[in-house]
């Protein structure tokens, strides 16, 4: 085969360029530790995510001193958690975060705008991606794969917050009566969970006030948790002190608040 000398030089230069590009990409991937989204996660059933580990209760959990797992379910047209309905994803500064994202319907993406946290989200598969967050910052999550007529409305937030503003306590439930008979105690059963990996304490604060009589009460209770634990406590209001009429109550744990009101009656009507 007859090849012109210039052609030969060009051919060699082209091959050198190609090999050099492959070398830089290999170094830029393996050397810098940029792991590909791959097949290391087990498959899930997109129709029964409530039975899948992590996706039964999606959200942030702490797994190490500065390490957090975040399970997210993408759906038409939002993220649970992350979007407005399910609340933004909060993580602390200086943390390493493992995102596990799946879809319960069609193919989406989970993409933090302006970063290389960007992955396809395929129903049946779990996309795992690890990123480090140094500074407090708010990142937009968007879906960059067309997923249906409201695709452009699909957005969420990953908020990296200062260490001191960050906690993983959730005020799960407050069991409170709607009405009580004068003289009886009104009891409030409070359930709080911790998604921290180690032993932690927090404070639950109970406040109640009868606006008509001006009576009020404020009680604080310290709660102690093991790693990934739930704690319960009960607050009591003696209705003799409060008198009849409605009183308002709130339970506060960190920045989580539940509130309601209780009617204190002379005599409870029997449901006969």
């Amino acid at each position: 085969m007859q090849i012109h000398n210039y052609e030969k030089m060009w051919l060699v230069a082209a091959l050198v360029l190609i090999v050099a590009i492959i070398a830089t990409i290999t170094y830029g991937t393996v050397g810098l530790g940029i792991a590909m989204v791959d097949d290391t996660e087990d498959t899930v059933d997109p129709g029964a995510l409530e039975e899948e580990d992590g996706f039964d209760d999606p959200g942030v959990t702490q797994v190490g001193e500065n390490e957090y797992d975040v399970h997210v379910i993408a759906y038409q047209f939002g993220y649970d958690p992350g979007d407005e309905v399910n609340g933004e994803i909060q993580i602390p500064e200086d943390s390493e975060v493992n995102f596990y994202v799946t879809s319960r319907d069609v193919i989406h993406s989970f993409s933090l705008v302006g970063t290389n946290v960007n992955t396809m989200v395929v129903p049946g598969e779990v996309a795992a991606i690890t990123a480090e967050f140094d500074e407090p910052e708010r990142y937009g999550i968007i879906c960059n794969e067309y997923c249906g007529p409201q695709h452009h409305d699909m957005e969420g937030i990953v908020a990296v917050v200062p260490e001191e503003d960050f906690h993983l306590f959730t005020l799960e439930d407050v069991e409170a009566p709607d009405e009580v008979e004068l003289g009886d105690d009104a009891t409030f059963d409070v359930t709080v969970s911790s998604d921290h990996y180690d032993e932690r304490t927090t404070t639950a604060t109970f406040e109640a006030e009868n606006e008509t009589t001006g009576e009020e009460v404020e009680v604080e209770e310290e709660l102690t948790f093991d790693g990934h634990d739930t704690a319960e406590t009960t607050f009591t209001v003696d209705t003799d002190d409060f008198g009849t009429g409605d009183f308002d109550w709130t339970v506060t744990v960190e920045d989580e608040i539940e509130s309601g009101s209780v009617a204190v009656l002379e005599e409870l009507e029997e449901d006969e």
Binding site: M1, Q2, I3, H4, Y6, E7, W10, L11, A14, L17, I18, I21, I22, I25, T26, G28, T29, L32, I34, M36, V37, D38, D39, E41, T43, P46, G47, Q76, E84, E88, D105, V106, I107, S109, S111, V113, G114, T115, N116, V117, N118, M120, V122, P123, G124, E125, V126, Y139, G140, I142, N144, E145, Y146, C147, G148, P149, H151, H152, G156, I157
Partner: protein
């Protein structure tokens, strides 16, 4: 010196008709293009956000399936017939593949445009709509017509390839031992690549998506159908590109006043595309969960070696043009550039197309880099890239070539040569504005395929508004360019005077086919190696995908038929909004 239509009047009619079909698709695609450009840059909303996706599906399918491939079959038919210097074996067979492709196009068009109707009728048990975009990723589901249309269209191209192989075999029996003429060699290698590549999409549609859309099976494995799509989806970009390459290798040196520099290298380039185009599709799936990193790495290295034939092409084409310029009296290290026929829209259009392809090649290398790809995947960077490649290298070459083909196919002289020159320059300018801004907004994270890429929760870290202005400006210039293209074509068809068109013969290369070993022409050998490479690249990934997700996907996978609020609802909402705003203004 006779034109193609003088030599082969019946065949010229098929080639002409194929190109007219391409032009119709181009017109529809361009209209959809400007509608979405103005929408997503927030300049003007002629459509609703939901209809944006119908428009986007139509833009993609009409531009990169209909326009490109209709033009391709025209170019390929011309190339085979003229370089073998023999008419087709059976004209009825030729019109048969033309018919398959036409019916396929119409069915897919009906399904897509059903998306514009306020209350699409039910046909075959599901609503007529196909807002699934060019990639039709399951479990988003289109109407069966969409899938059937694509299948018929692809079958039409298979039959077209059979037509050309038939011509070749007939020629071969009369010319044993002769080298295959270069244009025919290019067509045949490209068609072998196409047969291999389309097996992916044919399997995806016939085995999985069509039965699923007809309700015969309940579920699909989305990773499997997606992988089969990209099995076809990357080689298809070379399918679009190969007719442009064919024209750069044959027509362009002639127009420059010279001859092709090297026939052997041209053959090597087309063999390399045949071998390497298909085992790379997984590079579109770098971000897919469920596919091992190793498979992605193999696709990456194969992709990088695909640079080789394009780099070789850059050399040969530039060398051929320089030779032509020197034949025309050009001198000096770069001074020869001045001797080129810059006033010829065919030449200038193709040169600009080639220049933009170089830029597109560079952004393509970024896409193919499996680590950097995380920054740009599915951002506006990607459409920026392929508007340089298919949108300019291919489309502008085809438009410029039309100014040469239409006279060859009708015997009429081109009317409006200077308008044609303005047209190709405008396309270049429009694409410079549009694609540059698309790449840059992509780096800010602005997503592609999104009607309203503005959000409540955050702001982009850059001046998106200014880039949007450039995108809208570029899109407007491109629309103007398309209008001028149709002005020239229609003027030529209606007003062109018969006769005086230069002959269609292509000059002999400087270095002829006898400078390459005969094994280069062994099509069976290359086809065999190509198949082995595909088997090596795809067997393990496909086996792993089926093992993970099941052949037909998990039971919990549901279907999501596409569809959106119809045109009438939208219009009435729009009118209500206008009245409401007007009353507020009046009574304020």
């Amino acid at each position: 010196m006779s034109t193609f239509v003088d030599d082969f009047p019946a065949e010229a009619k098929v080639v002409r008709s194929s190109m007219y079909n391409a032009f119709v698709a181009l017109a529809i695609g361009a209209l959809m293009g400007i509608l979405q450009t103005l929408y997503r840059t927030d300049v003007f909303h002629f459509i609703s956000a939901e209809q944006y996706y119908t428009v986007l599906t139509a833009h993609g399918v009409f531009m990169v399936i209909s326009f490109t491939i209709w033009f391709l079959v025209g170019v390929f038919a011309w190339a085979v017939i003229s370089s073998l210097d023999r008419g087709v074996e059976d004209l009825r067979f030729t019109w048969a593949w033309f018919g398959f492709m036409t019916v396929g196009t119409l069915l897919a068009a009906i399904a897509i445009f059903g998306g514009f109707m306020s209350d699409p009728p039910e046909v075959l048990g599901s609503e007529l709509s196909a807002d699934v975009l060019f990639t039709f990723y399951a479990p988003l589901e289109a109407h069966p017509f969409f899938y059937i249309g694509l299948v018929l269209f692809v079958v039409g191209t298979w039959l077209a390839g059979a037509d050309w192989f038939r011509s070749y075999l007939a020629w071969r029996s009369e010319n044993p031992g002769e080298r295959i003429p270069l244009p025919t060699f290019m067509v045949l290698t490209t068609m072998i690549m196409w047969y291999i590549a389309t097996l992916g999409v044919a399997t995806s549609i016939l085995v999985f998506l069509l039965p699923w859309s007809l309700g015969l099976v309940d579920t699909v494995n989305p990773t499997l159908t997606r992988t089969l799509f990209w099995f076809f989806g990357h080689p298809v970009v070379y399918f679009w590109l190969m007719p442009a390459y064919l024209l750069w290798y044959t027509l362009l040196p002639k127009l420059a006043g010279g001859r092709l520099f090297s026939d052997p290298l041209a053959r090597v380039v087309f063999v390399l595309f045949l071998l390497l185009s298909t085992p790379v599709g997984i590079h579109h799936q770098y971000l897919d969960p469920g596919i091992a990193e190793g498979f992605k790495f193999i696709a990456m290295t194969n992709t990088m070696f695909l640079l080789l034939p394009s780099l070789l092409t850059a050399f040969t084409v530039v060398a051929s043009i320089e030779h032509g310029a020197r034949q025309r009296g050009g001198e000096g290290r770069l001074g020869w550039l001045k001797a080129l026929p810059w006033k010829d829209p065919v030449f200038t259009g193709m040169i600009f197309a080639g220049l933009m392809f170089a830029a597109g090649g560079f952004s393509g290398m970024v896409n193919a880099g499996m680590n950097i790809n995380y920054l740009v995947h599915n951002t506006l960077w990607v459409p920026g890239h392929f508007h340089l490649t298919v949108g300019t290298a291919v489309a502008l070459t085809f438009m410029a070539a039309s100014y040469w083909f239409i006279p060859q196919l009708t015997g009429k002289q081109l009317v409006g040569r200077s308008i044609a020159l303005v047209q190709v320059v405008l396309w270049f300018v429009g694409m410079v504005f549009m694609t540059n801004a698309m790449h840059r907004t992509g780096m800010l994270g602005v997503p592609r395929r999104t009607a309203e890429p503005w959000y409540d929760g955050f702001e982009y870290a850059g001046n998106v508004a200014e880039h949007n202005f450039q995108i809208a400006l570029g899109g407007t210039i491109l629309t103007l360019s398309i209008l001028l293209f149709f002005v020239v074509i229609l003027l030529t068809l209606l007003r062109g005077s018969k006769g005086g068109v230069e002959g269609s013969s292509i000059p002999e290369p400087l270095s002829g086919p006898d400078h390459s070993p005969a094994v280069i022409d062994n099509l069976k050998l290359w086809a065999g190696i190509a198949i082995v490479l595909v088997i090596m690249a795809y067997t393990l990934p496909l086996a792993s995908i089926v093992e993970r997700g099941g052949l037909f996907g998990p039971d919990g996978m549901r279907s999501f038929p596409s569809g959106n609020p119809g045109f009438l609802e939208y219009t009435s909402l729009f009118v209500q909004m206008v009245i409401q705003n007007a009353t507020e203004v009046i009574f304020r």
